[in-house]
């Protein structure tokens, strides 16, 4: 029913391609900046792999094995070669890369592959495997938190706007300001203390625990109740933000001329407020929601630590403590990619929601 022209589609595709190219640039920059910081630290990652009892010879050998003896820029370029989906490779490297397609070029090969994120210095597992098990747990946490925040935040915001300048509005504003002023790790500790420690007997919630646990027969089972407190802790800031955003967007929209037009047609107050009002107010809110989803994955790090929830955050903190460079880099790159992709998605979503954006 919309009349898109070919130019509109072309413009959209050109825009997305451009954003993706920028995204790649961002990723490369992330690799250089993060590696520069980590490798220049006064800690020796090779030493960290041995713990207490290591002699200099072993450490030296380990340094060589991990390529840590090379100059920084060589290490950085090597890492880039490993993570890039397209790169030059040798037979030896191909064992790690497991390329999807390789084209022989003299004694080297041009290969197409999934990014190779190397192996953990500590556990020896492939970083991509680690991400594969940990990311879904954090994603579930972030997803439920954003879902809760969207539901409660938008409802509170709408109520506050409809009861503008009454005590209901004032309470909603105070609560939301409080919500987004508290850092999530503080909320996490308060929640854990209150609902799991003091009231643990009534709520049946435990202070710490991951998404899965082993049952008596040794199978891995999901413990959904362990999600409740982390989701709450993570969701409270976005609830505050979405309430504020929805409220101000709604107040702005309700003062627009087209709302008066809708009323002049004789529409019921409900239809005016929700069909004509909320539908417009949601446009700015929805982009903010997608943006926040990416931030929540990052915010989950603190919350996971408080609740010992075995997701990406806990893994990252472990990696940071032991200078497990491949894991740290892998997580940072993954987060970077998540942000880039979600930002592009949120732009597309906005164009979908607001017909005025589609044409320009």
């Amino acid at each position: 029913m919309l009349f898109y022209t070919t130019e509109t589609y072309l413009g959209m595709i050109r825009y997305i391609v451009k954003r993706l190219l920028y995204g790649i640039g961002v990723m490369v920059a992330i690799v250089f900046i993060v590696t520069s910081i980590i490798y220049n630290a006064s800690v020796d990652p090779a030493e960290m792999t041995f713990g207490q009892r290591a002699d200099t010879g072993d450490i030296e050998a380990k340094r060589k094995e991990l390529g840590l003896d090379q100059p920084l820029y060589i290490q950085q370029l090597n890492y880039l070669r490993d993570v890039s989906p397209v790169s030059f490779s040798s037979d030896e490297l191909n064992k790690k890369y497991q390329p999807i397609l390789s084209i022989p070029l003299g004694n080297k090969q041009l290969v197409f592959k999934l990014p190779y994120l190397r192996e953990s210095y500590q556990s020896g597992y492939q970083v991509s495997k680690i991400l594969k098990t940990k990311v879904p747990r954090t994603a579930i946490l972030a997803f439920f938190a954003i879902f809760l925040a969207t539901l409660i935040g938008i409802s509170l915001g709408v109520i506050a706007a409809l009861f503008h300048n009454t005590w209901i509005d004032n309470i909603a504003v105070v609560v939301s300001v409080l919500g987004y002023s508290l850092p999530s790790y503080v909320t996490a500790i308060i929640l854990a203390l209150f609902f799991a420690y003091y009231l643990g007997d009534y709520t049946g919630l435990s202070v710490t625990g991951g998404l899965t646990t082993l049952n008596d027969s040794g199978d891995e089972v999901i413990v959904w109740s362990n999600l409740i407190l982390p989701v709450l802790a993570l969701g409270i800031r976005p609830i505050g933000i979405f309430t504020q955003l929805t409220r101000s967007a709604m107040l702005d929209v309700l003062s627009q001329d087209y709302i008066r037009t809708a009323r002049s047609k004789g529409l019921s107050t409900f239809k005016v407020n929700f069909k004509h009002g909320l539908r417009n107010a949601l446009n700015p809110v929805s982009t903010s929601i997608t943006g926040w989803f990416a931030s929540l994955v990052a915010g989950a790090f603190f919350v996971e630590n408080v609740f010992s929830y075995d997701g990406l955050g806990l893994e990252t903190i472990r990696a940071l403590e032991t200078y497990d460079i491949p894991v740290i880099l892998g997580v940072v790159l993954f987060m970077g990619a998540t942000f880039v992709i979600i930002n592009i998605l949120s732009d597309i979503l906005y164009a979908f929601l607001d017909p005025r954006v589609r044409l320009s």
Binding site: D257, Y258, S264, K265, G266, H276, P355, L359
Partner: protein, 597 residues
């Protein structure tokens, strides 16, 4: 045949509670609308004309507004009259859009941007007439046909931003007519539109009036528009009705001095004036401590006032000769400003909008050059290109012999001091968080005019007085001023730079006719006092003609016609110019007589 009563407003009082106290926006207003009649309500902003109509729709925003007294009786075809003031909100929803509907001033913002035009029109039909989706669509397409929208099917599926202003207003009219209302209230429906579009909308409304059995309440600040459409006219001033009567009586024999002022302040087309008559030529208003106004009428008659400001054609001719004797201050040669609209996949431009396309002209010192045309003709872009606020693609601009397009940054800064621009919208061109004194002082600080802030402050006070404001206004904020006052502030800000050359870009288009006259007079006075050169840009040919010595008619980026303003008006060569002239509401009694038969 005795006309049946349709709407009777009796002693209506609508008040607004503000921080400063109660404002009687509508103060004891009574009038009657009969079936099949078109009533014009005229007055300047703040006269209460819109509030009166919104009261009838019960759409007064509450708080702060409230109907505190009076009755609004609606007489349905059958049954007892209904007092709209006493209805509950739910009962009123049954009347709105069904019995009484409304068209608003701003077609740009009055349609919901996220729904298609079709959705918005069928919504009311489905609501009031229990029509199915299909029936509602058929009806909407019929209505689009009736309001003469091209390709109704396409408009039905289009979003508001894809339509022009005139088309949007037609959609609004279709929406208002969708349930065959008894009363159609049109609140300044043409004010935001070009004169040419205004003419077509007025014609449409006149056609529809004959076709449907509705009464129209037409609200406007422009008596010229009233003359084109109304049978009866109500003149409102500060919440009160000061005069009401048949259109013909009002135009031939206005009794209230305010009406006379409104009639006289429209820029005339057939003769030249040194300044426009304004309302205060006809009356003085004094306000006592309680906010009550006493109006004292002045002796002057309409004819006397107009006669006193007329300029003889010989004087105009002499002025032209002395102007053209000098070297041009600004020369524009082959100027092109093209904006890219389409690019291929690699970002290479494949299509341009030729906003200004090969335009050449000269401006002489002390002269006012008018630039007239419909929206989108490129006149605004041309003005901006002269100041390099829009990028020129080709051509040459010589200001006092210097090539503007090749100036470096610091020379450009000097040029922007000599050439000032006054924009259209006095509401958005002033920073709401800056006192007006500081707003005027800021460019002086940027350009290092005068030694210190103390001297600059004195200069600002002097400027405020030049534009008929007062020294005490220095530390006030823009929202405390009316539209006309704000435009004066913008003028003062431009004057602060001691410019030689001022571009007025639709500087009076957002103002009421009566306020417009005051600002135009101010600009005229300043021209004499400081010997300014103006480029005066407007879509309104009558305003341009009043201000300008010579004028350029622009169409689609090109110059359609150029020459001495009076000659272009009296003897337009091009069809486009003739169309523009024909579109201006003249407000002549002969026209009213022929229209009313």
């Amino acid at each position: 045949m005795e006309k049946k009563k349709l709407l009777e407003v009796i002693n209506l009082e609508t008040h607004f509670t503000t921080e400063e106290g109660t404002v009687k926006a509508v103060d004891n207003v009574s009038f009657t609308v009969h079936r099949g009649e078109t009533i014009g309500i005229v007055g300047e902003s703040g006269s209460g004309k819109s509030v009166t109509s919104l009261s009838a729709m019960r759409l007064i925003p509450n708080p702060p507004g409230k109907i505190v007294g009076g009755q609004i009786l609606y007489y349905p075809l059958e049954g007892e009259p209904i007092d709209l003031v006493k209805l509950t909100e739910e009962e009123m929803q049954g009347i709105r859009g069904n019995e009484i509907s409304m068209i608003f001033q701003e077609p740009m913002t009055s349609l919901n941007p996220v729904f298609t035009c079709g959705d918005q029109v069928t919504e009311a039909i489905k609501l009031h007439q229990n029509a199915s989706n299909y029936e509602a669509k058929i009806r909407a397409l019929e209505l689009f046909e009736k309001v003469q929208l091209p390709t109704p099917e396409r408009i039905f599926n289009a979003y508001p931003h894809q339509l022009s202003g005139g088309q949007k207003q037609r959609v609004m009219i279709a929406m208002a007519m969708s349930c065959n209302p008894d009363v159609l209230i049109a609140d300044e429906p043409t004010t935001a539109l070009d004169v040419t579009v205004q003419k077509t909308i007025l014609e449409l409304m006149n056609d529809l009036k004959k076709e449907i059995d509705a009464s129209i309440i037409f609200i406007t600040h422009d008596l010229g528009v009233i003359a084109e459409i109304a049978d009866k006219v109500i003149v409102m001033y500060k919440g009160k009705i000061v005069e009401q009567g048949s259109a013909l009586d009002l135009f031939t024999n206005p009794t209230h001095p305010y009406t006379k002022g409104l009639l006289a302040c429209r820029p005339p087309l057939d003769y030249r004036m040194s300044r426009l008559p304004i309302v205060s030529d006809f009356m003085d208003v004094e306000m006592d401590a309680d906010g009550n106004r006493t109006i004292t009428e002045k002796e002057a008659s309409l004819e006397e006032v107009i006669e006193s400001v007329k300029v003889k054609p010989e004087a105009t001719k002499a002025r032209m000769e002395s102007l053209m004797a000098k070297e041009p201050i600004l020369q524009v040669k082959g100027l092109k400003t093209w904006f890219p609209t389409e690019r291929n996949f690699f970002g290479k431009v494949t299509k341009y909008v030729k906003a200004v396309d090969d335009v050449s002209f000269d401006v002489y010192p002390g002269e006012t050059l008018g630039l007239v045309g419909e929206s989108g003709c490129g006149k605004t872009t041309l003005g901006r290109t002269l100041l390099r606020l829009a990028p020129a693609k080709e051509g040459q601009i010589l200001f006092q012999g210097k090539d503007v397009l090749s100036l470096n940054h610091s020379d450009m800064k000097d040029l922007r001091r000599d050439m000032q621009i006054i924009f259209q919208d006095p509401y958005s061109s002033l920073n709401p968080r800056m006192t007006i004194g500081n707003a005027i002082m800021e460019p002086m600080q940027v350009h290092g005019i005068l030694a210190n802030d103390k001297e600059r402050k004195e200069k600002v006070v002097e400027l405020l007085e030049t534009v008929s404001l007062e020294a005490r206004h220095f530390s006030r904020y823009p929202h405390e001023f009316s539209g006309g006052q704000r435009q004066r502030i913008c003028v003062a800000r431009a004057l602060a730079m001691n410019p030689k050359f001022i571009i007025c870009d639709e500087s009076v288009s957002a103002l009421d006719v009566s306020v417009q006259a005051q600002v135009l007079n101010l600009l005229m006075e300043l021209r004499q006092k400081f010997d300014f050169t103006y480029i005066f840009i407007s879509h309104d040919l009558s305003v341009v003609k009043f201000m300008s010595d010579r004028m350029i008619v622009m169409n689609k980026g090109k110059i359609e016609e150029a020459g001495i303003a009076d000659e272009i008006y009296s003897n337009p060569q091009k069809a486009y110019t003739q169309k523009l002239i024909a579109a201006i509401p003249k407000g002549k009694t002969e026209d009213i007589i022929s229209r009313l038969g």
